[in-house]
């Protein structure tokens, strides 16, 4: 790519960016939840570690039950091991797929914003919005927290601009501070 082509390419990229910003997102499935709404809608919030997942059929529908060990409880009552149920999964020759449902790998640690009752399955509030994955820096061990939905921007009709309102790469102590302070504020 020569200099002229590169300059033209950069201009096109710039124009694409502007065009995308000018377009209102079209559709569906999830409604934006602010952090305070996530906390308010959750009967329990906890740091959990994924142990394993099983697929089962109930009332003719395929569900995935993921078993988590509770590492740290931040809101509500939770037993030491919980089951979180999400729609979809693979059963014999059928795959039931629901887009936007979070999936977890054994050993993975996440903060989950949950709704449900002890003794039964829990459900994740707002699916990707109530899922906050913990990443550990291999070199220094520092942990950060990223919300599954953090990367998708939201259009603000008042400012006519896109903003990202999710949690992304937040150091874990700052995330804890944010969470604790919101739980405390709502308990007053």
């Amino acid at each position: 790519m020569n200099y002229v082509q590169r300059r033209r390419f950069l201009w096109v990229l710039f124009l694409v960016g502007m065009a995308l910003i000018a377009i209102v997102a079209n559709a569906t499935t999830l409604a934006r939840l602010h952090f305070y709404q996530l906390v308010a809608h959750s009967s329990a919030i906890a740091r959990v570690r994924c142990l394993h997942a099983d697929t089962r059929v109930e009332n003719g529908e395929i569900w995935t039950d993921t078993v988590f060990e509770v590492v740290q409880r931040d809101k509500g009552f939770l037993p030491s091991v919980i089951v979180v149920r999400m729609p979809g999964g693979k059963y014999e020759h059928l795959t039931s797929h629901v887009d936007g449902v979070p999936e977890f790998r054994p050993g993975e640690e996440v903060y989950l914003f949950l709704t449900g009752q002890p003794g039964r399955q829990f459900y994740v509030v707002g699916w990707s919005q109530g899922t906050f994955r913990i990443r550990r820096n291999a070199r220094n061990g520092a942990e950060t927290v990223t919300q599954d939905s953090a990367d998708v921007p939201v259009f603000d009709p008042q400012t006519h601009s896109f903003t990202k309102m999710g949690v992304k790469g937040l150091p874990i102590d700052r995330f804890m501070e944010k969470l604790t302070s919101e739980i405390h504020r709502q308990s007053l």
């Binding site: 990229l13 960016g17 559709a27 569906t28 999830l30 409604a31 529908e61 729609p87 795959t95 009709p157």
Partner: protein, 401 residues
């Protein structure tokens, strides 16, 4: 127009362009069950995108006329019972029409069987019938979830759901669309009722999006795409409506290209361009040691822009290829298909470490392989393990000689 580009590693600008960062259309991928006889599985472990049959009258859709009344969640401008149902029927017809009038695809209005209705509220279920339900509770609904689509796909021929039996691998046997019921804070309005109900979500665009899932689409991060996963807040919908001149007007080029890939018209001569290449690291030692056999960058997001308009025409997740009998080879290959000919394109590749992360596109990546751990008895010769997405690279693009 076919251009082959080879992209090699090391820093340049594209990874910095995170404001664009739009991964394009993606599909649910199904690996055929090669433990079954070849007559049922096709004998190949190469992934197949989930899809509906596209012959005349092969996609049947029905909707439940049971509408929530306490609270009322579907709002129409005509308040009479018959007028209300008529208005919703028009919305469903219009939304289906959006997907069946795209040039270069085999999906046409004749692909659809006549739209029918059903009375019970709980008509959605694994019964082999594609149904839209407006008042069926489901445990999957939690705060923030407005609507979702359950898509059931077969990994072999001869698999049955209800009375529907798969005749192709990857065939969608059942796709049900659920709208959030019984929530006074979540209402949906038809286009004609939207202006008088500014706190409602736009029913037509939500339904069009969900019908995209019913056709096999996963989400897209192109903000203008119909398959973008978030709804505009109530009172803020300003998207394009279908018109008699342009029934597919609500779709973005990304949606249209995806539809052509899934349901290409074999007689089409316009959207037959493709761009293909491989993404290779400058330093082969940077490739992962495990799983074995990874020879290229996996999980790069490759996007084609129309040079004249600057529009995102298509995007794909590169890094793999597959030739029968499989399994998938993680060799850095990407291919952008069904591009309009006679245009020039700019192609860039970026790592999924900016505005889009692997978790956003995991559905399109983690289902590429099956093995004896995921499926006991799986033949080792057709087994593979999906490697971690390479998030460490940046790119420069070199046109091939």
């Amino acid at each position: 127009m076919v251009r082959k580009l080879a992209a090699t590693g090391v820093a340049l600008l594209f990874a910095l362009w995170s404001v664009v960062s739009a991964y394009g259309y993606s599909f649910n991928q199904i690996v055929p069950d090669v433990r079954q006889p070849a007559s049922a599985s096709g004998g190949s472990a190469c992934p197949v995108p989930a899809h509906q049959l596209s012959g005349a009258g092969s996609i049947a859709m029905r909707w439940s006329t049971a509408l929530g009344t306490n609270p009322q969640t579907i709002l129409t401008s005509n308040q009479t019972p018959a007028g209300q149902l008529n208005e919703i029927q028009q919305v469903v017809q219009q939304s289906l029409g959006v997907w069946t009038n795209v040039a270069g695809t085999s999906l046409t209005s004749s692909t659809l069987a006549p739209l029918t209705t059903v009375s019970p509220a709980d008509s959605c279920g694994a019964d082999g019938l594609n149904t839209i339900c407006f008042d069926q509770p489901d445990m999957a609904f939690t705060p923030g979830v407005l609507a979702f689509t359950r898509v059931i796909t077969a990994d072999a021929i001869g698999v049955q759901v209800g009375n529907t039996v798969s005749t192709e691998v990857g065939q969608i046997l059942d796709a049900d669309i659920y709208f959030s019921p019984g929530n006074a804070t979540v209402t949906f309005a038809t286009p004609s009722a939207l202006s008088s109900n500014p706190k409602s979500y736009d029913l037509e665009s939500l339904l069009t999006h969900e019908l995209g899932h019913a056709l096999g689409f996963s989400h897209s991060a192109v903000w203008s795409a119909m398959m973008f996963p978030f709804a505009p807040a109530p009172g803020t919908y300003t998207g394009v409506r279908p018109s008699s001149q342009s029934l597919d007007a609500p779709l973005a080029d990304d949606d249209r290209t995806g539809l052509r890939v899934l349901y290409g018209d074999p007689n089409d001569t316009t959207y037959v361009g493709s761009i293909q290449g491989r993404i290779l690291p400058a330093n082969p030692l940077s490739l992962p040691v495990a799983p074995v056999g990874v020879t290229g960058v996996f999980g790069a997001h490759v996007v084609a822009l129309d040079q004249a308009s600057g529009e995102v025409i298509a995007g794909t997740l590169g890094g793999w290829s597959c030739q029968a009998p499989g399994p998938v080879q993680f060799d850095g290959t990407y291919e952008l298909q069904h591009l309009p000919v006679g245009h020039s394109y700019l192609v860039y590749a970026e790592a999924l470490n900016g505005a889009v992360s692997p978790s956003d596109v995991s559905d399109a990546l983690i289902t590429l392989c099956r093995n004896s751990t995921t499926d006991p008895g799986w033949p080792s010769s057709q087994a593979c393990i999906v490697p971690s997405v390479d998030q460490q690279f940046s790119t420069r693009i070199q046109p091939s000689p």
